[in-house]
């Protein structure tokens, strides 16, 4: 009986893991157990079924179509049939044929690459990424080992560079990133996975296919292989050059145009083709002593180009990294929509992050933030960060952490934030490295704007209020908008507020906040007050309460 209880329990576990139990293939010697397993399936049928990944219908069509052609149906998993050809031989044969038809021109080079790539089940290569500056000085930025197949699975291992040792894998079921320095394995869903890695052959060919213009510019030798060089003008974006291997008709090297005084050249220093990626390369295995982190909101990438491809825009990069800081990492965060460039100080004590994303909403600063300017745009300045809005709201808790400051603003359809545990003037240096306009941080000087009607203040009462807030009561007094809302609401209903406030929080806008004085403007017709003037009377930091010192009535 004990044994049957265990078997039944393992059967349930297997179904819960969405795997085929061995009992479905092998006959059971216990009719009772078989009946109970049948009952498990019946009960489980009340659940909504687990559906396959989004690309399943495509895989299904390819596999079923292949079987239709082959007219052989075995009971095994058949995804691999496409890769079942001897890829190297096929590429070679195809190339021989294509050599007769390939001459410079859009259709032919795209066609040749597409046909050659069709025959590739998988490939294994070593990529080098070289950075060239304006003086023509070259530095090897990274070396990476890559495996990729035509079903979207891949393996990338950073061999050299600032992310040395990091391994990123997508095996079709899950995607993970092994970070040896942190002893952590970050797990992501396998889909959607918009971008694999720089110079991934499939993506590269698609980019050329979609280009506005393709121009042959000559021949060259790359990594000992003869290559035709083409200049590609994408629809939107800068022209770049691509080297196509004359023998395999597949991309061998790409060089981007010089941007921000830096040019990248990515080269396959070696590449070989095979039927598929070896199983052990794609097997998920948590190394001993490593912690698995699920639902990681960030994905580390190797370079700006990868970050841009994933996020869907080219992020701004500091023209000159402020003295004393060095690049630490590049990541994509917030549902892969925001880029995150991290810099660390030489003594490793301070870290500054530049976050960027496409602006989706009108810029609304945090109600507790000091307001400044970046260029002509309003900037939200928080020291420390108290509310994580906009690009700061990315699943990572910046707010509530001591000594973390941020400056956030929008410019030409993008939202930016520079955030870090560094002094405010160092954050400003980072902003100046990506923005042309001046950065204005309020100095906290007395405001020149005076209320039409002054409200008398009892400092003794305010001191007691401050103590009460320090003890954890009425935290809303730290938010000038809430304080103004309560003030205006009591003007409307002097006898007290019941239910909802008569003026909405959304109708109130901070038009000035230098950290000591604030002015809140109220829109709409429901209010007798147009502007509320507030001041931090007791303590002038983020823990100081706001007090109403006057107001302007509706004219």
């Amino acid at each position: 009986m004990d044994n049957n209880e265990k078997k039944l329990s393992e059967y349930i576990d297997k179904l819960n893991a969405e795997k085929k139990p061995k009992e479905h293939d092998n006959p059971m010697d216990s009719p009772e157990l078989e009946e109970l397993m049948d009952t498990v399936r019946k009960v489980r049928s009340l659940r909504e079924p687990a559906l396959p990944d989004a690309d399943y219908p495509k895989k299904l069509a390819r596999a079923a179509g292949g079987q239709l052609r082959q007219k052989s149906a075995t009971g095994e998993r058949k995804w691999a049939w496409l890769a079942g050809t001897a890829a190297i031989a096929a590429v070679a044969v195809l190339v021989l044929m294509l050599n007769f038809v390939l001459y410079p021109g859009r259709t032919d080079i795209v066609y040749a690459m597409e046909q050659a790539y069709k025959e590739v089940g998988a490939y294994h290569g070593i990529l080098s990424i070289v950075e060239t500056n304006l003086k023509g000085e070259e530095t090897l930025q990274a070396m990476r080992e890559v495996w990729s197949d035509n079903e979207g699975r891949y393996f990338v291992k950073e061999l050299e560079g600032f992310q040395k040792g990091v391994v990123t894998v997508n095996n079709g079921d899950k995607k993970w990133q092994v970070c040896p320095n942190e002893k952590k394995v970050y797990v992501f869903s396998a889909f959607p996975d918009p971008y694999r890695f720089t110079l991934e052959l499939g993506n590269e060919i698609n980019d050329v296919k979609d280009a506005a213009k393709i121009k042959p510019v000559g021949e060259d030798t790359v990594a000992g292989r003869r290559a035709s060089v083409f200049e590609i003008l994408p629809k939107g974006g800068e022209a770049y050059r691509i080297w196509i291997d004359k023998e395999t008709k597949l991309p061998l090297q790409r060089q981007r145009a010089m941007t921000n005084a830096i040019q990248y050249r990515i080269t396959y220093t070696s590449i070989e083709f095979s039927d598929n990626i070896p199983g052990e390369i794609l097997a998920y295995d948590l190394p001993e002593g490593f912690e698995e982190i699920d639902n990681n909101p960030e994905l580390l990438v190797n370079n700006i180009e990868e970050a841009g491809k994933i996020a869907g825009f080219t992020p701004k990069v500091p023209e000159n990294v402020p003295d004393g800081y060095a690049k630490d990492s590049i990541a994509v965060a917030k549902g892969m929509k925001a880029t995150k460039l991290s810099y660390v100080s030489e003594n490793k004590k301070s870290r500054v992050i530049i976050l960027q994303e496409k602006a989706t909403d009108e810029f609304k600063p945090a109600s507790t933030a000091v307001l400044g300017k970046v260029g002509n745009n309003t900037a939200e300045i928080q020291s420390p960060v108290q509310q994580s809005l906009g690009v700061l709201d990315g699943g990572i808790l910046y707010s509530g952490m001591a000594d973390i400051c941020s400056i956030r603003w929008q410019e030409s359809g993008f939202e930016y934030a520079v955030i870090g545990d560094a002094p405010m003037d160092e954050l400003v240096l980072f902003i100046e490295s990506i923005e042309k306009g001046p950065v204005e941080i309020p100095s906290g000087e007395e405001t020149t704007e005076k209320p039409q009607i002054k409200i008398p203040v009892d400092l003794g009462v305010e001191e007691n209020e401050q103590k009460s807030v320090d003890a954890g009561h009425s935290p809303w007094k730290l938010d000038p908008v809430y304080v103004a809302q309560v003030f205006v609401s009591l003007k409307i209903s002097p006898e007290g507020i019941e239910g909802d406030y008569p003026v909405n929080y959304e109708d109130m806008k901070v038009i000035k906040n230098n950290g000591i004085d604030a002015i809140v403007e109220i829109s709409g017709n429901a209010t007798p007050v147009r502007r509320v003037y507030l001041k931090k009377l007791i303590r002038q930091d983020s823990t100081g309460i706001w007090t109403v010192i006057g107001y302007d009535p509706v004219a």
Partner: protein, 177 residues
């Protein structure tokens, strides 16, 4: 809506047409299979086998378009039955010629709905502890360890409880057959 031309092209092995057919019909077929096997891995494989068999058969015969999903489900059902039979070492191959898709489709919907009602009723007749263990382990998919923690019981007790609960359910469902 799938066009007759798409089916014709699919018969000739045109990948785009096969993709079109698969993308508009796969979910009903997959759900039908999943309902029987209750795991994603097997359901994906069997859906694939179903399409391979159906398309292969389709190449030599003609089936009305509107009956296609019903036809696919019937192929799937026959593959399922065949598998169970083979498991019991009494292998019988699928006789695809005898399929009446319109019957399968109707039977399937009515049968499923009635079956679910019976299962729900059977679950209601379990005692509180038994029902809870079934809900946590099978309907919500918790592990024995998690279930034990939630029910404040030993893991071995959970295994005994779930075994007995399933025995009770099996006997209720059997008496309803």
């Amino acid at each position: 809506m799938l066009k007759e031309e798409t089916f014709k092209k699919a018969q000739d092995g045109d990948l785009k047409s096969i993709e079109e057919i698969c993308s508009s019909t796969w979910e009903a077929v997959y759900r039908f299979i999943y309902y029987k096997v209750q795991n994603r891995q097997e359901a994906e494989d069997m859906t694939q086998e179903t399409y391979a068999k159906a398309l292969s058969h389709f190449k030599d015969n003609s089936v009305k378009i509107e009956q296609y999903t019903g036809f696919l489900k019937t192929v799937a059902l026959n593959i399922l039955r065949d598998k169970w039979r083979k498991k019991k070492r009494r292998g019988v191959s699928v006789d695809i010629e005898t399929i009446k898709p319109e019957e399968t489709a109707v039977e399937d919907a009515a049968e499923t709905s009635a079956q679910r009602e019976l299962i729900r009723k059977a679950l209601d007749s379990l005692n509180k502890e038994q029902r809870m263990v079934i809900e946590l382990r099978i309907l919500k998919g918790y592990s024995v360890k998690e279930t034990a923690r939630m029910m404040k019981k030993k893991e071995s007790t959970i295994r005994v409880l779930q075994y007995r609960a399933l025995q009770t359910l099996a006997s209720i469902l059997k008496s309803d057959d």
